[in-house]
């Protein structure tokens, strides 16, 4: 199948959508599909062979901040040419509601069109005012995908219509191999916390609140705290009874994250809310590290209500301490959770995600129609064609 993917944001900048598009494109290529990605980028930058640059994005004020996007007749012409030359069976745009290449592609393409919505955004005034114009672009989308329940809600509210839920993937093989940090694994029980240390809803306070009880039972226990934030502040405010048992690492690299999972007896996710999915849980499970997590909806779903990882009552430090102690004392249960977790993570592997995405492609391309560039009947389209060099 020939697939054209449109990434709305600067290819060389870091960002969740870019990572998603890159992983998807690579998974599709591995499956033997032909893939072309259209993305904004600087002309000088060296790009992967399957990426086509749509030119340098321009900063414009939008929705209360500055967005770096490709808009205007020149970009529209590039999108049109990319679609015409690509001879695609399906075009897959990301974030079609942001004013970007994706919206242009919706507007220009005629034929099988799939869209993925990533974020949950509040409806802006411009979106309400330009509803009619926006509709002419987005109502051509044959199939919508949402990466989370929240993103799906956004689709229902802003675009009308439903979306298929296909969550983000984990590249399991990145987490399967890797060696522990020097000096680990150690005796006495080791736990790991990952995430911003100064963000309340990541729940570090709940975990530190449980530590005195855990230390009282197991004096040799150790907690590794990794993630960005004010490291010194956390160190200074540790209770004296647990100071020797908590090691604050600060921000660690992706490679060290894999090593950290291999070094500890369990990963603890005390998040108090605001999580739509829990990708870190899956990364831990893919690395074979048992998970103890708060029982918020998103986590309970990923852990299949406790069969693939242990749960404690959200926000309840003493329940966390109880569950952590029982898990630290029970090696067979940890091994079971490690196996079950790895099996569960496999279900969210990128190869599985890509298989589901391909099913969406197939369910809208059965007619055999190719994607064509089409501007007929669109007044603005005629203007942009007059402005182009053809």
């Amino acid at each position: 199948m020939r697939v054209g993917i449109v990434c709305p944001y600067d290819w060389t900048a870091p960002g969740g959508v870019q990572v998603h598009v890159r992983d998807l494109a690579q998974a599709l290529l591995e499956m033997g599909h032909e893939v072309s990605v259209l993305a904004p980028s600087d002309e000088e930058t060296e790009l992967e062979p399957y990426v086509v640059s749509a030119g340098r994005p321009v900063p414009v004020p939008y929705n209360g901040s500055v967005a770096r996007v490709n808009i205007g007749p020149v970009s529209a012409t590039r999108v049109r040419r990319w679609i015409r030359d690509g001879d695609f069976d399906v075009v897959h745009v990301h974030e079609p509601t942001s004013p970007s290449l994706s919206m242009l592609a919706c507007w220009v393409a005629r034929g099988p069109l799939v869209a993925t919505c990533h974020s949950s955004v509040a409806k802006s005034r411009a979106m309400s005012a330009a509803y009619f114009i926006l509709q002419t672009a987005v109502e051509k989308i044959d199939a919508r995908i949402a990466v989370s329940e929240k993103a799906r809600q956004t689709v229902v509210e802003h675009l009308g219509g439903d979306a298929v839920l296909i969550p983000n993937g984990v590249t399991c093989k990145h987490f399967a191999s890797g060696s522990p940090l020097p000096g680990y694994p150690r005796e006495g029980g080791t736990m790991l916390f990952l995430g911003r240390i100064d963000e309340d809803r990541k729940g570090l306070d709940v975990l530190l609140g449980a530590m005195p009880e855990i230390v009282a039972q197991r004096p040799d226990v150790q907690l590794l705290v990794a993630g960005p934030g004010d490291v010194e502040y956390v160190r200074r405010h540790l209770a004296p009874t647990i100071r020797d048992n908590v090691v604050v690492l600060g921000l660690i690299s992706d490679a060290d994250k894999v090593s950290a999972f291999k070094s500890v007896d369990m990963y603890v996710a005390p998040n108090t809310g605001g999580e739509s999915f829990g990708i870190v849980l899956l990364e831990s499970m893919a690395a074979g590290c048992p998970v103890l997590a708060s029982d918020i909806d998103a986590f309970a779903r990923v852990l299949e209500d406790g069969t693939c990882g242990a749960l404690f009552r959200n926000g309840d430090s003493s329940d966390l301490a109880r569950q952590a102690l029982s898990l630290l004392a029970d090696k067979p249960r940890r091994e079971l959770l490690s196996d079950e977790g790895a099996r569960r993570a496999e279900m969210f592997d990128w190869s599985t995600v890509a298989r589901d995405v391909v099913r969406v492609y197939e369910s809208v391309t059965a007619g055999g129609e190719k994607v064509q560039a089409d501007l007929s009947g669109q007044t603005l389209g005629r203007l942009s064609r007059m402005g182009s060099d053809e």
Binding site: T136, K140, D142, G161, V164, R359, V364, A366, S376, T379
Partner: protein, 183 residues
């Protein structure tokens, strides 16, 4: 002379804007009808593939004879009435119930998938039931979008839809059998 010129120009501008609006709406409606048609043909093909895979599964010999017989009949029935949407929806829903009974447990499906002939069979069948369910969802989405425009007063008064039939949503049970959900 200028006494009638200003109102005339105002009226002319209003008429021109109105005509542009109508023509844009007609174009929009045309694209929506196209999406409905494309969605319908995709859905039609996906459901035919589903019953095709069900037939193959029934004929393959990996299932017990009783299941094979019921499955074969249901799949044949679903393929026998292509022209009658209501009858077909009924037959496809019946096939869904048989598939749910035949492939309802993950353990059974795993067992079939581990056999030599079974793995490709389960793979094809699972793909086809997922795709059929999705294609119906996408078709109904297109129908809903198209109807929303066709209900507008101006669209009705100026007959912008022309002779295109009012789109009908497809209502049937196409839930994925429990044993195939994660495949």
């Amino acid at each position: 002379m200028s006494g009638w010129l200003v109102p005339a120009v105002v009226i002319a501008v209003i008429v021109i804007v109105f005509v542009i609006y109508l023509s844009m709406t007609a174009g929009r409606l045309d694209r929506l009808h196209h999406r409905v048609e494309a969605g319908f043909s995709s859905m039609d093909i996906q459901f035919l593939r589903r019953s095709g895979c069900a037939l193959e599964a029934a004929e393959s010999g990996v299932l017990d004879p009783a299941t094979s017989l019921v499955l074969m009949e249901a799949a044949h029935n679903a393929r026998a009435v292509p022209g009658d949407p209501i009858e077909r929806a009924q037959m496809e829903s019946d096939l869904t119930r048989v598939l749910a009974a035949a492939f309802g447990s993950t353990e059974d499906v795993n067992e079939i998938a581990e056999s030599d002939d079974g793995s490709a069979l389960i793979g094809d069948l699972s793909g086809s039931v997922h795709r059929a369910a999705m294609s119906r969802r996408f078709y109904n989405d297109a129908v809903r979008a198209c109807r929303a425009v066709r209900r507008q007063r101006l669209v009705r008064w100026f007959r912008l839809a022309g002779s295109a039939p009012y789109p009908q949503s497809a209502e049937l049970d196409d839930s994925v059998p429990a044993g195939l959900v994660d495949r």
